[in-house]
């Protein structure tokens, strides 16, 4: 009897052996040795036997014992694909190699415009779909262990032992997979170690099954003829075959053969040479035949020998044990163990690649937000993501095993997985054969197929009231009888498997087709579609059309080092630099180089992620909407920035213009100042000349008459007064212009102000002037500075007295009211001011007739300043006879700022 400890020891030794094989293979591959074996069609064919899992090893016999020859369908599907459809596979392999595809999800997403959504969908579906399959492996290993364990312990403890065993098996497989699969990052370096280990296991499981079969046929039954006779006698021979079930099973297994992530992994991703496929197309069906050769004999003998109620899935193990063939049983156990472990390792590896490339990495890229350049080593992140994914996937398998009770027939569990992954087929085939297929179509078809599969296959597998309430089975979802999981649309009475496969696949394909026709592919989808469909007659290289002019090769280098590793990246870059004929080790980022780099990176992180990463650096892909939006955002910022610049430069231009104006004004002011000083100088020097001349005459000349002395002294005196008045006016004007004058707002009566002005002006003498007024019109109350206003009026009246050239000079003062304004008009009967001088009279030093003027020409300038400060204005109005000064005043003065903005 084999003890459990012996069993575990044997297992550990076996696993250690596999490790050594894998390690040696990888080392050889690294040194470029042993390719005759590692890259041989034999190993490729054997690695395809990953299809044959514990389901095949144990389950086929159980299947045969339960359902007769139907188990054959599971082998027929793949065989038909290999023999009849190898050109489909060849197309997949070619696409996989040219596009550096890392997984099924990668291929489909790349085909449909590098859609990460599609990749995520497929990844999730694949994980969900394969989970029962992994549970199946756990179950089979656990069952096989329990056979040995139950021989040691009481049957009562078996159940509990099973759970513990399943846990440890799962844990062991997880560790095993992590150690095997994630030592090296680049998937396209191929997992030589894993592949060779799988090949070894393929041999072990074939030998084990053949050995058990030979023992049964020749050791128990006693020869081929006797065996055939026993088969005829057994119930298996009488099983009726159901045509629809056979068709459905063949279709679903054929589909699964192509779509299972692990099959895709070994068949497409790990493929070294397309020609291997040609050999495998006949060699693999042969392997399948060999491995299924003794299924029926073992089942028949098992049914005969084993007590009723014993699990037919374990006949491969229990039949030799019952015959005391411990060594053979141990070999059979190893065969089953091999089948299970190889499947779990490759399946989880394939799934973890998908998960890390399509879910974890994009999330990380988005969350880190800094892109691939700045933050840490991407390799570390990728490897951690893969390890985490492996643990998650195996944990899911374990949980499914616990949830489903670990009691289902292995074949039934396997079929659920097959049905799930078969949903990828329409999108996959459509993608590589039909250019009209679109992303939207693929998403719609996959969603429909997957939902139906969940509803009709996966959820019911937990049994009534397991995942779905029993009432749904009888009454349908939401109480609609059309939505019963095993009788969709009211079509009942079909085998549940056929039912599920039919509805899910046909609706999937139909929706994919119809939606594809009615939706429009994006430009990138068109490009990729052409690349994929015409893979045999187009030049190589992924679409994407990097406009690589701006991508710094240095940035690409930094990013590549993090993904490929420093040595790898450097040699890749150097190789391309050399190819470009450059002396340095950095190639120009030509479109060709960037595409090659993208393929290289895609091998590690998937097409969509690689595209996004390169896009982040090069930023020139004009096709992905997201990139476009990012670019658009950026251009918007640039536009914004440049418009800001424009505004700035416009402001600068304006400022420059303003400065120019100011400068001009300053120059003007400077000239004005010069002129003003010159004027003042003149006005000062003129009286001083007289003063000096006459004072010298008085001083130096003897014998002046008294009259002369008196006259000259009075000239000096009047010139002195003139000087004083000039200085007074100047100061007054300066104070007014600078706004330093304080105006006193008083309530005054206009009549009083005019009265005062007229009296003062007339008192100063200087000619006779008759002033005509209308006192009642002047009776207006004002709020203003009465003294300043009087000063203005005095000036005007004095001017009239000085300049009115009429014989009988008359000044008429008329007051008009206009809304809240008062207009005081001063008109005389003189000839008025000549038109060309009218606009000069308010300027400083403007004197029309110098000989007759005694003032310095500042009077009206001062008047204008005062009236402006009082909130009004003064103007000269030409009349038919003479002219008129109009003083316009607000009733209530709002004292204005000085006209010239001198700071006070």
């Amino acid at each position: 009897m084999v003890t459990l400890n012996q069993l575990i020891a044997v297992c550990l030794v076996y696993v250690a052996g596999l490790f050594v094989v894998a390690f040696l293979a990888e080392r050889a591959a690294l040194r470029g040795k042993g390719s005759w074996l590692l890259r041989s069609p034999l190993v490729y064919t054997l690695s395809l036997s990953i299809y044959c899992t514990a389901w095949t090893f144990y389950g086929a016999v159980g299947y045969a014992a339960r359902s007769g020859l139907e188990y054959i369908t599971i082998y027929l599907g793949p065989s038909l694909v290999m023999i009849g459809w190898w050109w489909v596979l060849r197309r997949l392999v070619r696409i996989g190699r040219t596009q550096r595809v890392t997984s099924l999800a990668d291929l489909v997403s790349a085909r449909f415009g590098k859609s990460n959504l599609l990749a995520v969908m497929i990844t999730i579906m694949a994980v969900v779909g394969v989970t029962p399959y992994i549970a199946l492996q756990l179950q089979s290993v656990t069952l096989s262990v329990s056979i040995f364990a139950s021989a040691e312990t009481g049957l009562g403890e078996v159940a509990q032992t099973n759970d513990t065993a399943a846990f440890w098996v799962a844990a062991g497989l997880a560790v095993f997979t992590v150690l095997f699969g994630t030592r090296n990052l680049n998937v396209n370096e191929r997992h030589h170690g894993v592949v060779i280990a799988v090949a070894v296991e393929a041999v072990v499981k074939l030998i084990a099954l053949l050995a058990v079969g030979a023992f049964v046929v020749w050791g128990i039954a006693g020869g081929v003829a006797e065996t055939v006779a026993r088969i005829d006698a057994s119930p298996i021979g009488t099983w009726q075959t159901s045509g629809s079930r056979w068709t459905a099973l063949i279709v679903v297994s054929a589909a699964a053969f192509v779509c299972l992530p692990r099959m895709f992994q070994v068949m497409v991703v790990e493929n070294d040479d397309e020609r291997h496929l040609q050999i495998a197309s006949w060699a693999f069906p042969l392997y399948l035949m060999a491995i299924s050769l003794f299924v029926v004999p073992i089942a028949v003998i098992g049914l005969e020998l084993m007590p009723a109620g014993s699990n037919p899935d374990l006949y491969v193990l229990t039949v030799p044990l019952s015959q005391g063939q411990n060594g053979l049983a141990m070999l059979a156990f190893l065969g089953g163990f091999s089948s299970a472990t190889s499947m779990v390792i490759v399946a989880t590896l394939a799934l973890s690649t998908m998960m890390s490339n399509h879910i974890v990495m994009p999330l990380w890229l988005q969350l880190s937000n800094t892109g691939a350049q700045q933050s840490g080593d991407v390799r570390g992140v990728v490897i951690r993501a893969r390890r985490l994914s492996i643990l998650m996937i195996i944990t899911l398998g374990y949980l499914y095993y616990r949830a489903s009770g670990g009691s289902g027939a292995l074949a039934a569990i396997g079929l659920i997985s097959f049905g799930g992954v078969a949903q990828f087929l329409p999108a996959l085939l459509g993608g590589i054969f039909w250019r009209g297929s679109t992303r939207t179509g693929a998403i719609a078809g996959l969603s429909i197929g997957f939902v139906i599969w969940m509803f009709t296959m996966l959820l019911p597998s937990f049994g009534p009231d397991g995942a779905l309430p029993a009432v749904i089975f009888t009454d349908g979802l939401f109480g609609w009888s059309a939505l019963r999981p095993e009788a969709l649309f009211g079509i009942a009475g079909i085998d549940p498997t056929v039912h599920a496969v039919w509805w899910s696949l046909s609706l999937n394909a139909l929706v994919f087709f119809v939606v594809s026709i009615f939706s429009f592919p994006t430009p990138l989808e068109r490009l990729q579609g052409a690349q994929f469909v015409n893979v045999f007659n187009t030049s190589r290289g992924p679409a994407g059309g990097w406009v690589a002019s701006e991508g710094g090769a240095e940035d690409l280098m930094v990013m590549s080092q993090r993904i490929l590793g420093a040595t790898e990246a450097q040699s890749f870059f150097a190789q391309h630099a050399e190819r470009q004929g450059r002396s340095s080790s950095t190639p120009l980022p030509t479109s060709e180089f960037v595409q090659a780099l993208e393929r290289e990176l895609a091998a590690s992180v998937g097409a969509a992620t690689a595209s996004a990463m390169i896009g982040q650096i090069i930023g020139g892909q004009a096709i992905s909407v997201q990139d476009l939006m990012a670019v658009a955002d950026e251009s918007a910022q640039i536009l914004e920035y440049s418009s800001q610049l424009e505004v700035k430069s416009r402001e600068l231009t304006e400022t420059a213009q303003e400065l120019g104006h100011a400068n001009k004004k300053l120059t003007q002011l400077s000239h004005q100042k010069d002129d003003f000083l010159s004027q003042i100088s003149h006005e000062l020097r003129t009286p001083m000349t007289s003063i000096r001349a006459f004072s010298e005459i008085l001083r130096d000349i003897e014998g002046l008459s008294e009259a002369e002395q008196k006259r000259y002294a009075s000239i000096i005196h009047s010139e002195t007064i003139r000087l004083t008045r000039l200085l007074d006016d100047l100061l007054d004007l300066s104070v007014l212009e600078n706004g330093r004058v304080s105006l006193n707002a008083q309530r005054v009566n206009l009549h009083d102000v005019i009265e005062r002005a007229v009296i003062t002006a007339q008192a100063s003498g200087g000619g006779s002037l008759k002033v005509e007024r209308s006192p009642q019109g002047e009776d207006i109350a004002l709020l203003t500075d009465g003294d300043r206003l009087a000063q203005v009026f005095i000036n005007i009246v004095t001017n009239a007295m000085k300049y009115c050239d009429a014989e009988a000079a008359v000044l008429t003062i008329a007051v008009r009211q206009q809304e809240d304004e008062v207009i005081i008009g001063f008109s005389d009967n003189g000839s008025g001011i000549p038109p060309d001088a009218q606009n000069l009279i308010f300027e400083k030093f403007a004197r029309l007739n110098k000989s007759e003027a005694s003032g310095a020409g500042l009077g009206l300038a001062i008047c204008r300043e005062i009236i402006a400060r009082l909130g009004g204005d003064i103007s000269y109005v030409e009349q038919t006879h003479g002219g008129r000064f109009d003083v316009r005043l607000p009733r209530t003065a709002t004292f204005a700022k000085p006209r010239q903005a001198h700071s006070a």
């Binding site: 010159s678 100088s681 003149h682 006005e683 000062l684 020097r685 003129t686 009286p687 001083m688 000349t689 007289s690 003063i691 000096r692 001349a693 006459f694 010298e696 005459i697 130096d700 000349i701 000239i715 010139e719 007739n849 110098k850 000989s851």
Partner: protein, 131 residues
Amino acid sequence: MSKHVVLVEDETNIAEAIRFLLGREGWRVETLANGGNAAEVIRAAMPDLVMLDVMLPGKTGFEILAELRSDAALSDLPILMLTARGQNRDREMAEQAGVSRFMTKPFSNDEILTAVRELTDGRLDKAQSDA
């Protein structure tokens, strides 16, 4: 024959002072208060000396100066310009226009008498010897 000077000056007090000073020296002083017809008057009078203010009604002193100097017959006429605008620019302009002497107001009586003598002595001597 007494010395004849045409004084173009609109400031009556200044004109009176000059008239008094030159009169004591034996000058016959003809005063014009407006620049408008000064050039014609001078051309007709052919004085021994012209005293010219700058800021004048009618025409400025510079305009009168230019007019006088454009007449070949008056090219030797001594012209004394008196201005209250004490700017170098004016002096330069006047000298370029051919002024004989340029003086800034106010001036001392000695200065003006000296200037008048200097401008006319040689010429008068020459005229006397010619006569």
